[in-house]
């Protein structure tokens, strides 16, 4: 059941992005989509709307980049609870550290080992 929910929510979040790209006359690049979804995820999380989605759909809500924004917002709040003002500066990166390091390290080695085509 959780797999079905993950599929449904993960798919629908991507559909929102596809509609934004196809139906608006602005030139929306993948960079705009990713930035928009991270920001939207963080804001939705701050207002308490994202955690229920994570509870219901699991990876369907955490795998899209809005889940990354949710993690940043969660981290900022946890940081304040644990360390006060200093946590405002450290919290958001703490929860996302694994993902960021994985992306930089694997990204680095992939672009060293492989050659672009053409």
């Amino acid at each position: 059941m959780i797999f079905f929910k993950a599929f449904l929510v993960g798919g629908l979040i991507c559909v929102v992005a596809q509609l934004l790209m196809d139906l608006t006359s602005y030139k929306i690049t993948p960079a705009h989509i990713l930035v928009g979804f991270v920001t939207a995820g963080a804001l939705l999380s701050a207002f308490g709307f994202y955690q229920p989605l994570v509870n219901w759909a699991g990876a369907g809500a955490t795998v899209p980049l809005s889940g990354f924004g949710h993690l940043i917002a969660q981290g900022a709040v946890q940081g304040v609870q644990e360390k006060g003002l200093l946590g405002v500066f450290s919290g958001g990166i703490t929860t996302t550290a694994t993902g960021i390091t994985a992306a930089v390290v694997f990204g680095y080695f992939a672009s060293i080992f492989f050659r672009a085509k053409g």
Binding site: A6, G11, C14, V15, T39, V63, L65, F68, V104, S111
Partner: protein
């Protein structure tokens, strides 16, 4: 034959262009994004369950699952397979965390010729940079707000 004023010619031309230009295959794009985005989420859920089965907490399993997806996306981008999936998946391959990894590797690979520092090092962050900037600033603002108004 009397030629029409330029304004009318322009309007006529715009009308013809609008009629001839192929409509974006919206339904196909949306279906592709839904299926591919959903499948990537299912793969994420498989890893999430797997790491929880190994005894990791939900948060740890989520981090490990994301790292695994990022590894696979970097590998598939290097092999040229991710771009093939993206032709069908559209936004379904952009929005998941795998799309984040894909954006880093593809631009770094493309500009590798400019060297390790300004090619690979800088271009890894063509898209990831803005994402981190806006993500971190938003998170910081949420933290500040929470600190003063909790």
């Amino acid at each position: 034959m009397e030629t029409q004023p330029l304004e009318i010619q322009k309007k006529e031309y715009a009308k013809i262009v609008k009629e001839i230009r192929p409509k974006p295959p919206l339904l196909r794009n949306v279906a592709g994004a839904f299926v591919v985005g959903g499948l990537i989420a299912i793969i994420g859920q498989v890893f999430l369950n797997f790491y929880q089965g190994l005894g990791l907490s939900l948060q740890e399993a989520g981090a490990a699952g994301s790292a695994t997806l990022i590894f696979l996306a970097a590998l598939l981008t290097g092999l040229g397979i991710y771009d093939k999936i993206a032709e069908v998946g559209g936004a379904g391959t952009i929005v998941p965390i795998t799309g984040f990894a894909n954006s880093m590797v593809s631009s770094a690979m493309e500009y590798r010729g400019e060297g390790l520092v300004l090619g690979v090092g800088a271009r890894l962050f063509t898209v990831a940079g803005p994402v981190l900037v806006f993500g971190i600033v938003t998170g910081w603002a949420i933290g500040i707000f929470y600190y003063f108004f909790r």
